[in-house]
């Protein structure tokens, strides 16, 4: 089993928005997608995922509707709203800035 990594504060929103840009998905699917795409490095706690989904929905970045899932029962599917899409771009650029800044900071100084 690969090592697990604690999520950085605020990155969960970005991950959710990122996952949803390929289409609507339910909570389980979102969690699974993050796990597989991170090659099992990122494990999302359900206690963080669902509150985050609801918070993003209240902020108007996500919208949700009930659809029949593969388990043959109603599940709540989330999708990006146009506002969410703009937010995703913003979060992505902020993330890149952060990554560059962190990378510069932790890079060993060349003598």
């Amino acid at each position: 089993m690969p090592d697990r990594v604690e999520l950085l504060q605020g990155t969960l929103d970005l991950l959710i928005l990122q996952v949803l840009q390929w289409g609507p998905q339910h909570g389980h699917g979102i969690g699974q997608a993050i796990r597989t795409r991170s090659q099992e490095v990122l494990q999302i706690e359900h206690g963080s995922l669902y509150p985050a989904l609801h918070r993003l929905e209240q902020q108007g970045w996500l919208a949700s509707e009930w659809k029949i899932s593969e388990a043959n029962r109603r599940a709540r599917y989330y999708r990006l709203t146009p506002k969410g899409r703009r937010q995703l771009l913003e979060e992505q650029s902020r993330w890149k800035q952060l990554v560059r800044a962190v990378a510069r900071t932790v890079k060993p100084v060349k003598e």
Binding site: H26, H28, G47, H54, R55, A75
Partner: protein, 869 residues
């Protein structure tokens, strides 16, 4: 609206969302080869603590400000719903207090304070001369004519008949009885009213032989003439006389006397009327002051006119005085007393309601001191706690207000329905939202003071002490005294209301059950309006005898009498008493009056009156009418004290006298709440001037409808189109007791509600006290107190409360009920029996109310209560 109080919508959704998650996980695990059971367990394990996820997500959802308010309201609603007894009691108290006050004050406001429905109503005044001897007020016609001519201060001085409407017959194929108001021709000018269509009266139309005209009330015009415009100028028949329809009054017109009016016609105002005329009319007079004239100036002018009238004819004005007041005050008139009493009762009720709510809130906060402390301990902020409690109060008040609104609307409708015809200006009554607001503010203030202060204090609670002491229940010690004082106050107020109600109830009982002096059961009055010039024709006597024959022929008739009056009125007129063996009284001698009534031999049997001595009339007395008299016991007491009146000559002059042949028992001939006045019956059935309706009194076994039908059947042949009115004497009595019954019902309702609230208060305080003292009681029982001793302990606590309240209440009632005196009959305002009954009844109810908590205390298990510590 209930949706609002239900579980938040997201809640169920959220649960389903998580269930769906588990289902998908399970399915995926099963695809990997696990059995369903294993997969389900594994899915749950992977998911972690479901409740925690739910909780965290819910918190996210609840973060918006409005959602939090909603949450507060939902929480408050849930708390209130969990204490249905408390909630119902508080809401009902608020609703009744606010509702009753608003209803009564709305009525009072309409009657006392709202401007009259006339243009510049402030300039309108009422005036008359008060005659204390016969306790009425009016202006004699000669004085009206003189004052209208000579005054300096009025734009118009208008007259109308005093306080009743004249019944007239509208002559169509099927005659109808209509109610006419007779007015002077300047009447509409005085009230600044112009007809909606047509013209007002002309000056000639009030002259005794002038042309006759009518103005129709809008409603009557619509109902009987289908609102036809072409009616103007045409002629209708009233009492067989032609009247020109001059105009239609506007819909907004309100006749200034509270009687039913269908049309207005003119009073005969003779410009030459004099005090020396053989007869004079008595009128109600209204004036419109000239602009800029003050009441004092008007008064001075009227004093001069009054002095002139008095100088002209002093006999009439002995002991009388001028009465003069703004029309608005006059219209509020004699219901002052009733309304003040009702306002007092309503205020009492509001006070009791507020005390009740305060009490309930205090008790509740004390009981929740521990809950609040715990919530504060686990991190609820002080602001948040206070907001929660205020939300509860707001919710209570809101619910109370809604119920109160419904209550006010219903109460006003019922009031207008029941009091129709007994209170002035009722048609103008509507909910007074200012009063509603004031009552609401009072209860809001109460709730905030008694509910809010403890709530604020909740924020400062010394957690440790409360949590340590909660089990012993002493946290609420400070509130205990206040709660008791409040309940004692409630008891006192309800004693006052109950005493008033009991006194009025006794009055009603006396009125309905006192000996009437006649038997009203199975007695009908049959009246045939036949006055005016039509009535004088010779056919009148013939018709009367025909009707009498028909009435006697109708099956079931036991007796039928052709008479001038019923037993309910003290004769058709009043004369000055005279007897042949004493000097004649001087003219207009006041005081020694006797009512007189002409009737025939069958009257005694028809009325069911009781002959005390001598004989009643015989059939052959009719052949020489107006020669013999039968007097009542009141007349004997007044004019023949210690003498035997039989054979005495009375009521005459010169050689013409009437001989007393018998004495009848007193009948309630002045209304049910007055002693009988002296009355003489004479053997004369019709009056010579034929100015009155034909009146018959019939004792019969059949009902009034059957008699009316049979009589109309008989009359159709010879007297088609003649109007007959059949009424039971019981109905007439019912009309007379309607007013006291209304008073009684109203006060009794107030008293009953007040009483209930006070009992709830007593119960609440004791029940709470038992909860509070359960540990103490447990120790007492553990030390050997018997259940009986425990019951005595609790009941004694209640008894002290109630005794204090009753003592204060009786003192208050003794002081206040004297304002009831004018409404009472047959019972004194200080009747000890009444107070005894009230106190006894209340004590009994209080005992019952305290027995329930006492029993609960007696069955406490000392082991359980002590372990609780």
């Amino acid at each position: 609206m209930w949706r609002f109080f239900r579980k938040p919508v997201g809640e169920a959704d959220l649960e389903e969302e998580l269930q769906a998650h588990l289902a998908i996980e399970t399915r995926q695990l099963m695809e990997r080869g696990l059995t369903r059971e294993e997969a389900e367990t594994e899915a749950r394990r992977l998911f972690g603590n479901q409740a925690l996820v739910l909780e965290a997500t819910r918190e996210v959802r609840g973060h918006a400000g409005f959602t939090r308010l909603g949450q507060d309201i939902r929480y408050a609603a849930r708390v209130l719903r969990r204490a249905p007894g408390f909630t119902a009691a508080a809401v009902l108290s608020l609703a009744l207090g606010i509702g009753a006050t608003t209803a009564v004050f709305s009525i009072a406001d309409t009657i006392f304070l709202r401007p009259l429905p006339y243009a510049d109503g402030g300039q309108l005044v009422w005036l008359g001369i008060r005659f204390p001897g016969i306790s009425t007020e009016f202006l004699p016609s000669p004085d009206y004519v003189a004052w209208r001519r000579d005054n300096q201060v009025f734009q118009q001085l208008a007259a109308t008949q005093t306080s009743f409407s004249t019944a007239m017959l509208l002559g169509t194929s099927d005659p109808v009885e209509v109610h006419a108001g007779r007015v002077s021709t300047n009447f509409l000018d005085a009230f600044a009213v112009t007809p909606a269509f047509g013209r007002t009266f002309t000056a000639q139309e009030e002259l005794p032989n002038g042309p006759k005209a009518v103005l129709l009330m809008h409603q009557f015009w619509r109902d009987h003439f289908h609102a036809r415009r072409d009616l103007l100028g045409s002629v209708i028949s009233l009492d067989g006389q032609p009247y020109t329809v001059a105009g239609i009054l506007p819909q907004s017109f309100v006749y200034p006397v509270d009687v039913k009016i269908d049309l207005l016609t003119t009073l005969p105002v003779s410009p030459t009327a004099s005090h020396r005329d053989r007869s004079m009319s008595t009128w109600a007079v209204f004036g419109r002051l000239k602009r800029g004239v003050t009441m004092a100036q008007a008064r001075a002018d009227l004093d001069k006119l009054y002095a002139a009238s008095k100088a002209d004819f002093p006999q009439l004005f002995r002991d009388n005085h001028l009465a003069f007041q703004p029309l608005r005050e006059h219209r509020a008139g004699n219901i002052h007393t009733l309304l003040f009493i009702l306002m007092g009762a309503a205020a009492c009720l509001l006070a009791i309601a507020c005390a009740n709510v305060a009490n309930l809130l205090l008790a509740r906060w004390s009981a929740r001191a521990r809950e609040l402390a715990v919530r504060a301990a686990i991190g609820a902020g002080r602001g948040r706690l206070a907001r929660q409690l205020f939300t509860e109060i707001a919710l209570l008040i809101a619910a109370g207000t809604v119920v109160a609104m419904v209550f006010v609307a219903a109460a006003l409708r019922a009031f207008v329905h029941f009091a129709a015809g007994q209170l002035p200006r009722l048609s103008e009554v509507s909910t007074d939202f200012r009063v509603f607001g004031i009552a609401l503010l009072v209860s809001l203030a109460t709730a905030l003071v008694f509910g809010g202060l403890p709530a604020l204090r909740a924020g400062r609670i010394d957690l440790q002490s409360v949590l340590q002491q909660a089990g012993r229940g002493s946290a609420a010690g400070g509130h205990r005294l206040m709660r008791r004082v409040l309940v004692a106050l409630e008891v006192a107020l309800s004693v006052i209301l109950l005493s008033g109600a009991a006194l009025l109830f006794e009055t009603l009982w006396h009125m309905q059950n006192d000996h009437l002096g006649f038997q009203p059961e199975h007695v009908l009055t049959v009246s045939i309006p036949l006055h005016g010039p039509n009535g004088q024709n010779p056919a009148r006597a013939e018709l009367a005898s025909d009707v009498l024959t028909w009435l006697r022929r109708i099956p079931g008739t036991e007796a039928a009498s052709f008479t001038q009056c019923t037993p309910l009125v003290g004769g058709v007129g009043s004369r000055t008493f005279s007897r042949s063996d004493r000097p004649l009284p001087e003219p207009f001698h006041r005081g020694d009056n006797i009512g007189y009534c002409g009737t025939d031999a069958d009257y005694l049997k028809a009325a069911g009156a009781h002959l005390v001595k001598g004989r009643f009339f015989r059939d052959d007395d009719i052949h020489h009418p107006d020669t013999v008299a039968v007097i009542n016991e009141a007349a004997v007491r007044a004019y023949f004290p210690g003498e035997d009146p039989i054979g005495k000559q009375i009521l005459g002059s010169g050689a013409v006298w009437r001989t007393v042949v018998g004495i009848v028992a007193d009948a309630k001939n002045q209304g049910l709440n007055h002693e009988a006045i002296p009355e003489a019956f004479v053997n004369q059935t019709d009056d010579p001037q034929a100015t009155r309706d034909l009146l018959f009194l019939v004792r019969t076994l059949s009902d009034e409808a059957a008699v009316a039908r049979a009589l109309r059947e008989e009359m159709r042949a010879d007297h088609a189109g003649l109007f007959t009115k059949v009424q039971t004497l019981d109905d007439a009595i019912g009309e007379m007791t309607a007013n006291p019954r209304l008073n009684t019902i109203l006060i009794c309702t107030f008293a009953a509600v007040a009483f209930l609230m006070a009992m709830v208060g007593v119960y609440g305080v004791l029940a709470f006290s038992v909860t509070e003292r359960s540990a103490e009681i447990g120790i007492r029982m553990a030390l050997g107190a018997s259940p009986r001793a425990v019951i005595a302990l609790v009941v004694k606590e209640g008894a002290v409360l109630v005794a204090a309240g009753v003592f204060a209440g009786v003192a208050g009632a003794l002081f206040l009920t004297r304002y009831l005196t004018t409404l009472l009959y047959g019972v004194k305002p200080t009747d000890p029996f009444t107070y005894g009954a009230v106190v006894f009844g209340l004590a009994l109810a209080a005992l019952a109310a305290s027995f329930l908590p006492a029993r609960r205390a007696a069955v406490l298990d000392p082991v359980v209560t002590l372990r609780h510590e």
